[in-house]
Each structure stands twice: as structure tokens, then as C-alpha cells.
Symmetry: C2
Subunit: 252 residues, 2 copies
């Protein structure tokens, strides 16, 4: 699937923009991307559950069986759309974060949070696809873990920058971790710059969970009769959350 032998598999033609040598390869890449586009469109309008290869085939004017020349299965299509979604969210968050000055930690943090929420509100089905319930038999292939971490990487970087400047997590979020708690964080600590302390990671993970939980609650309708629906109410609530999360991270 991911071997890079000279004769690249046809499935890679779309992903690798380089060298669609023959005309056949070129048209193949084109049709593949048309299929992906149609899938994205259906996903956006009708949700993942309603995504149907037959409907896509109809829309593109081809026989349903022909689609299988380009996409192995419905699951494979879904996987590609998931990667797409992660990348789309990651790109949105990165660009918004970059707009803030590098030294403006609260600004960068707030930019990431708002980017996540805005993207989720604009692309609810994509958000549900990546952060909602996973489809039953489905296990995320390894290809998804890279794009999946783009957003959290931004938060980690903010944490690291804060640590480098000596702005630790305040006592607000209570001191030391238990030994077991520290051990549980071993995998993430292993891949992180050493200046990020375990308590900062603990706080960061909790903020991350809070952010996704908040966005999910809003998006999935659990805020009915809880938070107002007048224009600005949801925004105001989220803004309060963001400022408190920043305080918990000690970058308020």
C-alpha cells in the first residue's frame, strides 16, 4: 500500500502529483479526484452514513461497478476523506495560528481554539467523521495518524514555547502528578521536547479534551436549553472557555 517501488501503484497516482506519465495515468488521476470531490460533496451535504458509491457513480455518469476501478471500497473512500478532513482542519488551524505573532502565546492559543470551532461549525459532517463515533468495523489506518496530529502539534508547540520562556503551568491546576499519572504519560512525553513538563502535558491534554468536548457538545446539539441560541451566545460562551483554558495552561 505504501511501498514506493518505481512503478507506483495506480492508487498512488492521485496522491503523488508528480509524473502522471502516460495519458492513461493522467485521466485516471483526474477521474479519481472527481470521485473524491463527489464524495466530499456528499459527505458535506448528507453525512458519512449516506455516502454511497452508487450515488457517486450516478453523479459522474458511470456504472457503479466502474467506480471500483478507482476506489477499492466504501471504507477506503471514507479513509481518504478522513485524511482530507484532518488535513483541512490542520491547515485551517495552522494558518490562523500563524496570523498571530510568534511571541503572542495567548493569541496563538486562542487562534487555534477558534479555528477548530469555526472549522467544525463550517464542516460538521467532516468533524463528526474524525472526532465523532468511529464507524463500527472501521480501524484507522496508519496513514491517518500523521494528519491527525497537526492540530494537537500546534498546541504542543505553544506549550513548548511557553516552557522555553519559563511560563509554566500555574499552580492553578494543582501541582505534581502521581507516579502512576506520570507513567501513563510516558508515550507522549517520549516524543516531546524535554522542556515540556509532565504537568504541562497533563494540563494540555485536559484542555485538548475540553476543546473537543465543547465543540462536540455544541455541534451535536447537547447545548439545547443550556446555552442561549441568540446570535453571539455560543460565541461568547466559547470565548469564556478559551480564556479559562489559557489560564489553566498558564498562558493567560
Amino acid at each position: 500500500m505504501s511501498t514506493r517501488v518505481p512503478a507506483a501503484g495506480p492508487a498512488d497516482a492521485a496522491a503523488v502529483p508528480s509524473a502522471p506519465r502516460t495519458a492513461r495515468d493522467r485521466v485516471r488521476a483526474e477521474i479519481t479526484s472527481e470521485i473524491l470531490d463527489a464524495g466530499r460533496r456528499h459527505l458535506a451535504t448528507d453525512g458519512a452514513a449516506a455516502l454511497s458509491l452508487r450515488a457517486i457513480a450516478r453523479e459522474l455518469g458511470m456504472a457503479s461497478s466502474a467506480v471500483y476501478r478507482y476506489v477499492a471500497s466504501r471504507d477506503e473512500l471514507l479513509t481518504r476523506l478522513i485524511i482530507d478532513a484532518y488535513d483541512s482542519l490542520g491547515a485551517a488551524a495552522e494558518s490562523r495560528q500563524a496570523a498571530a505573532g510568534r511571541s503572542d502565546l495567548p493569541g496563538r492559543f486562542s487562534a487555534v481554539c477558534r479555528a477548530v470551532r469555526d472549522w467544525a461549525l463550517a464542516n460538521p459532517n467532516e468533524y463528526a467523521l474524525i472526532y465523532g463515533s468511529p464507524v463500527p468495523g472501521y480501524v484507522a489506518p496508519a496513514d491517518t495518524i500523521g494528519p491527525a496530529s497537526r492540530v494537537s502539534d500546534l498546541l504542543v508547540q505553544i506549550l513548548a514555547d511557553a516552557a522555553a520562556r519559563g511560563i509554566g503551568v500555574r499552580a492553578a491546576t494543582r501541582g505534581e502528578l502521581s507516579q502512576a499519572g506520570r507513567a501513563a504519560l510516558a508515550p507522549v512525553l517520549a516524543v516531546l521536547p524535554p522542556e515540556v513538563t509532565d504537568t504541562a502535558i497533563q494540563a494540555g491534554l485536559m484542555v485538548w479534551a475540553g476543546l473537543l468536548g465543547t465543540v462536540s457538545l455544541e455541534l451535536f446539539g447537547q447545548f439545547q436549553n443550556v446555552i442561549g441560541e441568540k446570535p453571539g451566545d455560543r460565541d461568547a460562551y466559547f470565548a469564556e472557555c478559551v480564556s479559562r483554558w489559557a489560564a489553566q495552561l498558564g498562558i493567560g
Copy 2:
């Protein structure tokens, strides 16, 4: 649907344990509950997406069309299972919370948190059904909002008890809300005992989102390569979260 006129609708026969007068009513209630049981079973093993009325009919040895005498549609079955799930989670949380002494606020809070996580780990598909992505065309009927709030009611009660004892939300989570932030909380403030302040509600909602976010991340596999998978790692991380949430609520 919920009128309680003398001649109760047949759909209510299963819900109301009282007076299945005739033998026909009795067998109807029995078959209905068999259908619900089979649905619960399929939901638990295969997930909501794979829930099929035809499969249930096969399992019960009846024609697929016969099931429609008891259940109006697949959506209606799903709705009943959703209510079931809310009630099951609510009952679990209530009983666990009741085990702690009424004055032991940290104990009650921790009991609720752990009850939610334990129930979710034991019933992942049910959890996904109620807190995961909603099925596309589906809108939760009014019947679900009562059972849905059982768990959050417990947390609110803890907050109210804390307020009554003057244990407010600490300065840890930063002081006053903005005016817009307070306005956004109007719906929930309206139905709450007045001793619960707006900052306490803000903190409570954030903890609630954090709890659901944390459980969702763990359940939906987003903790891979982040938190250890050795026995106890996930428990230890969650315990750290709980103690910090309690601190944020000022009941640590």
C-alpha cells in the same frame, strides 16, 4: 404519544408495567420487549450502524414485516435504545454517587466521573449512540431530554451543595464572566437553584465538556501513542483528570 387516557396506546403497553389487561396486550408487551432486547444486543455487539430490523426479525423467527407491528421504524427503535442508554448511564451514575456520603463532595464528584467512564468503557456502542456523532437525518425527540440530563443533574446538584456550603469556585478558574458570557448562560441559569453562581456554572460546563471529551478521546482511539496502554495507565490518567477537575470546581 404520551397521553395517559384510559385506553393506553399499544405502544405504551411496554413502557407502562401496569395493567396489560388482556392476554393479547400481555403478549404484545412481551414481544415488544423481546425486540428491544434483540436490538440492544445487536447494538452492543455490532454498533448502531449495523442495527437491522430484518436481522432482529430473523433472530426472533418472524417475518421482517411483522416487526413493524411493534416498532414504527428503525429510527423509532434507535430512539428507544437511546433513551435506554441515557437511563442506563443515569442509573449507574446515580447509584455510584449515592454510595458516597452526601457531604463528601469530592467523593460524589469522583463517583460520577468514574461512573461515566466505566459505563462508557463497558457499553461503547451505547455511549457512541448518545454522545457520538448523531445519525444524519435524526433529530432527538423530546422524550430523550429528560433521561439525557440525569447525569448532568448530578453534577449540578454537587455544585449546588457546594454553593450552599459556601465552597465556591476558586479563583483558580479566574474571576468574573463577561457580560456576554453571563447572558449566554441564561437558559441554564433560569432552571437552576439561585445559589449556583454563573461562574460556577461556567466551570461546571467546562468540566462536563472535559469529562465527555476525555471519555470520547479514550473510547474513540485518539489516545493511541499518547497515553500508555499498560493496565492502569488509562485509569491513572483519568484519576489525575478527576482530581484536577475537582480543583477547578473548588471542591478539591
